[in-house]
Subunit: 326 residues, 2 copies
Amino acid sequence: MSGAAKAGEQWVALCGGVGGAKLALGLSRVLPAERLTIIVNTGDDFRHLGMHVSPDIDTVLYTLAGLSNTELGWGLAGETWRFMEGVERLGGPAWFRLGDQDLATHAIRTAMLTEGRSLSEVTAYLAGRLGVGPTVVPMSDDAIATEVDTDEGTLAFQTYFVGRRAAPVVKAIRFVGASKAEPARAAVEVLAADDLAGIIICPSNPWLSIDPLLAIPGWRALLAERRAPCIAVTPLVGGQAIKGPTAKIMAELGLPLDVAAIVDHYARLIDGFVLDAVDNDRAGALKLPNLVTNTMMRTLEDRTALAEACLGFCRRLRERGPEAAR
Amino acid sequence: MSGAAKAGEQWVALCGGVGGAKLALGLSRVLPAERLTIIVNTGDDFRHLGMHVSPDIDTVLYTLAGLSNTELGWGLAGETWRFMEGVERLGGPAWFRLGDQDLATHAIRTAMLTEGRSLSEVTAYLAGRLGVGPTVVPMSDDAIATEVDTDEGTLAFQTYFVGRRAAPVVKAIRFVGASKAEPARAAVEVLAADDLAGIIICPSNPWLSIDPLLAIPGWRALLAERRAPCIAVTPLVGGQAIKGPTAKIMAELGLPLDVAAIVDHYARLIDGFVLDAVDNDRAGALKLPNLVTNTMMRTLEDRTALAEACLGFCRRLRERGPEAAR
């Protein structure tokens, strides 16, 4: 963690795993490293086989380091699975797969946490070792555990998401520990920066990846008192989620599969909304400034183009003054 | 842990790592599995990268399962090192090497201990999964940490042994936690068995591998009240240790490199001593019953032959009655 105030325009991205990390990568390519802080969901964190696993932080770190496994969609490229073979031989849990090299991340994180280092410190250390330039910060250094009430009962997040492949019907989602958690200090500092230029909510699952952060009272307050425009990028394109169970969960929670439902979800927290060109006909009905552009990030160029579009949108919102921005 | 009393003649082996495990393997080949209990040193146990590592227990389990890496002298055969590559990339500690499949053992052990299982329970579970027939029991379920006072200061055992390759000059050895530790329950049960036939101290390092057990007051009492002969097999052959720093440590502690020093070390705890044929000329000077035989265990046949010799020696000591046996 850098204690020194950063100089120059500061940008903040809030994100979960894969979808969010794509935009975070785009932002990292169009902003100097010292001007970008990526705040990452830790509601998915859990202990597995004695190790502290932070799936979204790792996805962001690996993606920004150019090490992510794009075939699997998680973990490290070129991964091997000898550890898992050993776990299976010993009758251990095989439902959550940990690659041999990925395991080094978890082991070092666990050891550092056991020594009393904060998750922020561990994340900064790992980012440094992986050559990740932007500041990557967990949403909180306190433990927050997402739990899902389903038609199969209450499930820990990873049991629901990986163990049951998000198949159970979601009735409610809880973030255990969030009400007593504090935002990570580095997050507080950057949101209080005089030269904060914008806050971008990445196209992550609002219910699973962004809500854990919003469930922290201190985060609600930080965003309510924001000194710069906050925008969200749609996780829905043409009524479908690009990846993951966003649309499925929305349907199960009785929400229309429409970008307006996403905007409603972020009501009062965002000053602008980015929707996909295929949803151009929905733009007029939105009751806040919006930007219609390509949000499908298939290539690195897509990622940087969407990142540039987000920066430009925030700048325009800021120029329009407090009324337009709030 | 089996709660049921075992039927038939019971044998107990006390051992540390590699040297002891060779004789334990021999014993496992000449005794029915239900008649052999192997009590293993845990003074070398430590936490590394967040994981509970029990080096001697693992050496015994892997050796008895036929999975040990005989080239390295530790770990699993056919091991890979991708995890260690990951640890090095992340700047983690590389001085203690953990193989990808070996890691599964540590991770499962750590997870089970974290859930509140005892080390005895974990060891029984792992033994079962690896198809190890004899009962393998840690000397204690309580934490005991060997520390070495050296000319470089006080070192944790693995720092001394692996990190510094046993190079520092040993001044004293301590077993932190031993005075308050209890013998493992399964060990107490087998030592109290009516049909206990013999206790064999394997050719492990007396100062590093057997003393941790002897530093536990309850173990001293169990051995003092033994209901069957206890013998020790020499770790010294021709004034040299077959493996490891036994001779070096003896010299540093000011002891003569002679089997008599080993016998003195085990004074009042053993009823007989097994020395190597090359030390035949030393047998006469020993003040207790002894057996001269080949103690070098190069082949499996060597191991089973030494095991048979130990069993026969104990039986003869027992037949000679309490005077000879005590």
